[in-house]
């Protein structure tokens, strides 16, 4: 491992000079071992206010029932399922970063997987709250499980995609949790062995007695790899099944065979956008610019560009199939998206998801932090509108014009949605206070192979030819965390 070094044409994954293993631990654990800064407190206060709004809105919903939402007989699903699908989609990038990129041996995942996995857990919790609330009588949620009950042989219907959904989401959450927590053990041990007093006791319990012996590491890596192998098809199955909630119906706009791949691509798209939104702030606030570098930001932007384009192709395919099917209801549904009363929602969806992301073809845009951050939020807004368009705009006008209706959200609808964002950010902010936002052990693996200082040392020792070195230096120009004057001398 340690003597292995990467090709010079690859950009460094850790920047800065004179970085040591000890410094990596110090840098990453600084927010965990010290009092939080002003930025954290401001963020936490705002997020907590959001979380309180959620508590109020959900309590109101449970007290007065689903009637407090803007649903009606025609639009039976609206902001609730829009929020659910949006949050589940956001969760997917975490698993993709930790699992798929691990299988493909993409070392750049090492700096971002921990936060992304945490994001998955919190996003799926937010999604689950929507399902719980949407049931109207959440204490009846237990009946979605195949448990013996007092009604005789009354079992859940395994032919229904809604039950597949219960199994898919609960499995996804459970497996993500075990993947995340197993990965945290070595880092918790690092905190434990530097802590004193009550903190040491807490982290001692949480780190399961981790020692870092050879056999433990070997088994740990085996577990990580197999969990990645299991999570990869799992993540694809989850959003495929979520899409089947719609696709197996006969509703125009929903009954679409393209939904499974289209939903999966959309999930990756929105998930990576949320990772970008979180990490661009996290790296700045926690001072992790050396570990979450411009290479990471650009790589994520490239994935957003690719998945955004896949989603764009899916939109075009939907339109073509609606036209080509010859089904008048199907054709009307798609026409209604543009000329119906919700035309603005469709414009937001296509504009944010397809047009705006195409800006990322430009390297200048991909490597510009403020623009990347704004674009990542635009993608999240666009993807929310995508789900809104699929659900509400398809439902509000179906076969019978006599049943056509509009959906108007109540302030409780808005409160639950804004509140769920508050819950999400509250959990994320607490997470970065008590657990390392970057996987310490995994980043240490890169120090001798893919760090700026390792590459620089090899350049100085003359291991690379001049053209490759020049190419490397040119690529460094975009890094905001590289001291460029160092290279002018070299």
């Amino acid at each position: 491992m340690a003597s292995h070094s990467e090709s010079i044409i690859r950009e460094p994954l850790i920047t800065g000079k004179n970085i040591t293993y000890g410094q990596i631990t110090d840098d990453i654990l600084r927010p965990v071992e010290n009092m939080p800064g002003k930025a954290w407190w401001i963020g936490f206060t705002v997020a907590s206010l959001g979380a309180m709004l959620w508590v109020f809105s959900i309590s109101y919903t449970f007290w007065f029932g689903i009637g407090s939402w803007g649903l009606n007989k025609t639009v039976g699903w609206a902001w609730d399922i829009t929020g659910f699908v949006w949050w589940v989609g956001i969760g997917h990038a975490g698993t993709l970063i930790s699992a798929v990129l691990l299988l493909f041996r993409q070392n750049w995942r090492n700096s971002i997987n921990r936060s992304a996995e945490a994001m998955t857990i919190f996003a799926v919790i937010c999604a689950a709250t929507y399902i719980g609330a949407h049931m109207g009588r959440p204490w009846m949620a237990v009946y979605s499980l195949p448990l013996p009950n007092q009604y005789g042989s009354l079992w859940v219907n395994f032919n229904s995609p809604l039950i597949w959904d219960v199994f898919a989401i609960s499995t996804y959450f459970s497996v993500s949790l075990v993947f995340w927590y197993t990965g945290l053990l070595p880092d918790m041990a690092s905190i434990r062995d530097r802590a004193t007093g009550i903190r040491r006791r807490i982290y001692s319990v949480a780190s399961f007695g981790w020692t870092g012996s050879v056999k433990t590491w070997q088994r740990f890596e085996t577990v990580s790899l197999i969990l990645a192998g299991l999570s990869t098809p799992l993540v694809l199955s989850v959003h495929t099944i979520v899409s089947m909630d719609f696709a197996t119906s006969l509703e125009p706009g929903w009954h679409t065979t393209i939904f499974p791949p289209y939903f999966v691509a959309g999930a990756i798209f929105s998930g990576f956008a949320m990772v970008q939104t979180l990490l661009l702030v996290t790296r700045k606030v926690l001072g992790l610019e050396n570990y979450i570098t411009m290479f990471h930001i650009e790589s994520m932007n490239k994935i957003i560009l690719v998945t955004g384009s896949v989603v764009g192709v899916a939109y075009i395919t939907e339109f073509f199939i609606a036209y080509y099917s010859g089904g008048e209801y199907e054709q009307y549904t798609f026409l209604n998206r543009f000329i119906g009363p919700y035309w603005w929602a469709a414009c937001m969806m296509y504009g944010c998801n397809v047009l705006m992301t195409q800006m990322m073809w430009s390297k200048k845009v991909r490597t510009n932090i403020p623009i990347s951050w704004v674009l990542s939020i635009i993608v999240n807004i666009g993807m929310w509108f995508e789900r809104f368009v699929i659900i509400v705009v398809s439902l509000h006008r179906d076969y019978l014009p006599s049943s056509w209706a509009m959906f108007y959200p109540t302030w409780i609808d808005v409160g639950v949605f804004i509140g769920s964002i508050g819950i999400f950010f509250t959990m994320f902010l607490l997470f970065i206070r008590v657990m390392p936002a970057v996987a310490i052990a995994e980043v240490k693996l890169l120090l001798k192979s893919a760090s700026e200082q390792a590459k620089k040392k090899q350049i100085e020792e003359g291991h690379f030819d001049e053209s490759h070195v020049e190419f490397y230096k040119e690529n460094l120009i975009k890094f905001d965390s590289v001291d460029h004057s160092e290279y002018e001398k070299a």
Binding site: M1, W155, F208, I241
Partner: protein, 178 residues
């Protein structure tokens, strides 16, 4: 008689630690264990640690999960409560695939993870039995069982020659409780 139980070679650099292992093995000094803050690839082959068999455990648990849910669904929908919906077959195998897949993954993941915790003696609240607290931070530690080994001074010299930044003669097995 010396009270030393373990001799620890503390290294700052993983390459030097690998070099230390080579030197110790060349001098026929048996190594008790090695503790590192990150996985070191290739070290298990060097120390003769057998490949992990957790993959087999994952496979077996996966098979168990798939079989369990398929059997349950068969019992629920075909045996206990068959429903005639449009004359469709109650034993609708394609509909059973999603849940069967999910439980296969669930059992494989949890079964393997718990096997890992069990085999490695990891569980919540277990007292951490580390020999040097810095081994989870920035030090790479080779532990040698001092009992019945060649003169301790020789081991110290071998470790120092290999580049150990520090050699410790511990009279306790673990230091976590200090």
């Amino acid at each position: 008689m010396s009270s030393t139980k373990y001799i620890l070679g503390v290294f700052d650099d993983p390459d030097e630690m690998m070099h230390g292992i080579d030197k110790l093995q060349k001098n026929s000094v048996p190594i008790y264990d090695v503790y590192t803050p990150m996985p070191i690839h290739g070290i298990d082959a060097k120390l003769g640690v057998k490949d992990s068999r957790l993959g087999y455990a994952a496979f077996m648990f996966g098979c168990m999960g798939g079989t369990t849910i398929f059997t349950l669904v068969y019992y629920f929908l075909v045996h206990d409560w068959p429903m005639d919906i449009g004359g469709k077959n109650a034993f609708a195998i394609p509909d059973f695939i999603p849940v069967t897949f999910e439980w296969t993954v669930l059992f494989a993941s949890y079964g393997m993870a718990f096997t890992f915790f069990f085999a490695t003696h990891l569980f919540p609240g277990r007292a951490p039995r580390v020999m040097d607290l810095r081994a989870t931070n920035d030090k790479f530690v080779i532990a040698i069982d001092a009992k019945g080994n060649i003169p301790h001074e020789d081991i110290t010299n071998i470790l120092k020659e290999a580049g150990a930044s520090e050699v410790k003669h511990n009279d306790r097995k673990y230091v976590s409780y200090e």
